[in-house]
């Protein structure tokens, strides 16, 4: 009895489609989620800018100029009196409005500052390792290029945004990793061992989750000593931010462990003599890994808002370091926003980043769902 198959190629393609591994399937489904894919690109761009921040920003964190306090974004021109000159800015002069006595910034059409690429500016260390003083763009002495205006101390908001993103984008990430590790370990122990250990850990988790997050954060942030190096402040903030979310993760992990513990395939492994650690790592964890990843991704926005809130209140990142939350301190007063609306720009950066993570998390969740 010889069996004649359908054309072999078709069959193999069908098989490939249906026998794809879990991760390939997830990747395929994820790509269908348009918003998630766009968000991935957006985030990629933001993190790229943050990575090369010192290079991209024309000014560093401490540069300030009292002559351009609260200056609006400088307009970039291409034509001067009809002739094409390449991108440039005019000089800025401060004047007082005769009626309201408020400061106004007028363009001084006599001074032309061409925007130069790869200029030399203040020194910095790329990635904290390589010394350089080349910046992506800048203008000569005497001129300023303020893509997003200046703040109340005459500092370029664009540079501070870019440099601030380095903190605002990495603290949640680092915090997530810490939460992840803590959550899995503690949750796993509680779920797997059960009994008194489980009860004790569950009580602690319950207490920590009952305490409202922001008050708790405020309390913990207040305990950061005032005069320690910036890097350490950063470290403490990260730990504080991850402090709350590990409980959520631990609870999930514990729940999954408890339900998986009763599964037959775990019992089979135990009978076969597999060690506890191996059971946990090889058999249980892959079962809910996708669920964990989704929870993590969806938890990052909370951390971003947390760090932003803390810095906004003055309890987080301290100068000379900056983050988007610190930048938003200037947007507190209504009058401030009314007169200098560009100070709200960091808000949009926060919103976009949070939205992006939310969409990606949603996309991951849809991709990981086996029933759709």
């Amino acid at each position: 009895m010889i069996l004649q198959n359908v054309t072999d190629r078709n069959k193999r393609k069908e098989e490939e489609y249906y026998l794809a591994s879990q991760w390939t399937l997830m990747r395929r489904k994820f790509k269908k989620h348009k918003l998630a894919m766009i968000s991935l690109w957006v985030l990629g761009f933001l993190y790229f800018v943050a990575l090369f921040g010192n290079f991209i920003a024309p000014y560093n964190l401490v540069a300030y100029n009292s002559k351009i306090i609260n200056a609006p974004p400088t307009k970039i021109h291409l034509f001067h009196e009809g002739k094409y000159e390449g991108p440039f800015v005019y000089g800025i002069r401060m004047e007082r409005d005769p009626v309201t006595k408020r400061k106004m910034y007028i363009e001084n059409k006599d001074e032309i500052y061409k925007i130069k690429w790869f200029t030399r500016g203040s020194e910095y260390k790329l990635f904290g390792l390589i010394k350089s003083d080349i910046h992506l763009f800048g203008v000569d002495e005497g001129g300023v290029v303020l893509l997003m205006g200046a703040d109340s101390m005459g500092r370029d908001l664009f540079s501070r945004m870019v440099l601030g993103s380095q903190v605002s984008l990495t603290v949640p990430f680092a915090g997530t990793i810490i939460s992840f590790v803590l959550g899995i370990i503690i949750g796993g122990i509680a779920g797997y061992l059960g009994g008194a250990v489980d009860t004790a850990i569950s009580r602690v988790i319950e207490v920590l989750s009952a305490l409202p997050t922001i008050p708790l954060w405020m309390a913990l942030s207040a305990s950061i000593p005032p005069d320690i190096p910036v890097v350490r402040v950063y470290l403490y903030i990260t730990i504080i931010v991850s402090f709350i979310s590990w409980t959520g993760l631990a609870r999930i992990v514990r729940g999954k462990f408890i339900s998986l513990r009763k599964e037959d395939y775990i019992m089979a492994a135990q009978i076969a003599g597999v060690s506890n650690w191996k059971i946990i790592l090889k058999h249980m964890v892959p079962g809910f890994m996708s669920y964990l990843i989704v929870s993590l991704t969806l938890g990052i926005p909370g951390m971003i808002i947390g760090e932003t809130s803390m810095s906004f209140l003055g309890l987080g990142i301290r100068s000379p370091a900056t983050s988007w939350g610190v930048l938003l301190q200037e947007a507190q007063e209504i009058t401030s926003i009314a007169m200098h609306p560009w100070k709200l720009i960091p808000l949009f950066a926060v919103i976009i980043t949070v939205l992006a993570f939310n969409f990606i998390g949603d996309g991951l969740r849809d991709a990981a769902d086996p029933y759709k």
């Binding site: 409202p212 008050p215 405020m218 809130s309 906004f312 919103i351």
Partner: protein
């Protein structure tokens, strides 16, 4: 059912005790204490303190003992006399400070909670039943935006918008009228107007979360086998949605009640600071900055306590809603 409730209540007590320990520990973490910040503030104004002065002040306020002793003293006072300590900054017992703000805090929180569920349940239901419709997209979109914007900034934007549109930024909860005359029927309208922004700002986060949860759960329930079976019996679609699907979908919503209470306290804190609302949040902020230990500790403890009570209540409601939970407790 009764056993279940009893068990929960019994577990309640150790949880609260544990909470008090953790809270107290965190409160006293900041280096130095009230005396330190008091001294530095007074010194900035020109007062001079000798080391002996400082030591005396410490002893006077009982701040010279190790933290666990302070904790025990605090606990003892709470349990035996209902005395929550003394607020250094306000020079009054902590409880009076809190009581001046607590009722309003609870009222506002309850109002926002009710608003949240009243709005989000119908929207979530609609979204699930009309998946991928225009309405669904709009609500989902607003939902995402609401989740993404930090509360306090939403507050600023809304106050700004209100200022531009009506000339009244609606700062604080009470207009000058109410402050002068007290709350009565005629100016309750003003109170409600002032409530709009806080409700919006503090409530949106939760509302969006509940909408998404209900939508996801309903979509899940509609494809269940028992829905198919019910349909095969001749049950009307309406009955299927309300009797079977919605009740099942409420499960995670009820579970999340306590969590939403917690996040309400959380969200209201910063927003209150920005919007100048006379609730507990700003008091906590000040207390933390000045290391007014007992005040900060008690506020945290109160909020945590209310959340634990909320958890207890929501667990009971959940057991009533879902018979499997009562059964599981009985058999385990």
């Amino acid at each position: 059912m009764r056993d279940y409730i009893l068990k929960r209540i019994l577990m309640f007590i150790p949880t609260v005790l544990l909470m008090s320990v953790i809270v107290f520990f965190i409160i006293q973490l900041p280096p130095g204490d009230y005396i330190t910040s008091y001294v530095s503030r007074m010194s900035a104004e020109g007062e001079v303190f000798t080391a002996q002065d400082i030591a005396n002040l410490r002893e006077q306020y009982g701040l010279d003992r190790p933290w666990y002793i302070q904790y025990f003293k605090w606990m003892k006072n709470i349990i035996t006399e209902g005395d929550f300590g003394y607020s250094f900054a306000y020079s009054r017992p902590v409880w009076t400070v809190i009581m001046s703000r607590l009722p309003l805090t609870v009222i506002i929180t309850l109002i926002i909670m009710i608003f949240t569920y009243v709005v989000s349940l119908p929207i979530g239901l609609y979204s699930a039943l009309h998946q991928y419709s225009v309405g669904d997209f709009i609500f989902t979109g607003i939902g995402f935006l609401g989740l993404a914007t930090p509360n306090f900034l939403l507050a600023i934007i809304l106050m700004f918008a209100s200022f531009k549109l009506t000339g009244d930024p609606l700062i604080g909860l009470f207009s000058e009228e109410i402050l002068r005359e007290g709350l009565n029927i005629s100016n309750i309208g003003s109170f409600l107007k002032h409530l709009i922004i806080p409700i919006f700002v503090i409530g949106t986060g939760n509302t969006c979360g509940v909408i998404r949860t209900i939508r996801a759960q309903m979509l899940d329930e509609i494809t269940r086998q028992y829905v198919l079976t019910a349909r095969a019996k001749g049950v009307s679609e309406r009955t299927i949605i309300y009797k079977y699907c919605l009740r099942a979908a409420l499960n995670p919503v009820v579970s999340g009640l306590a969590g939403s209470l917690s996040s309400l306290f959380s969200g209201s804190t910063i927003s209150a600071i920005v919007m100048n609302m006379a609730i507990l949040g700003p008091v906590l902020y000040e207390a933390l900055k000045t290391q007014d230990m007992y005040l900060a500790g008690t506020i945290l403890l109160t909020q945590g306590f209310l959340v634990v009570v909320g958890t207890l209540l929501s667990d009971i409601v959940l057991a009533w809603l879902d018979p499997r939970i009562r059964y599981a407790e009985r058999s385990s």
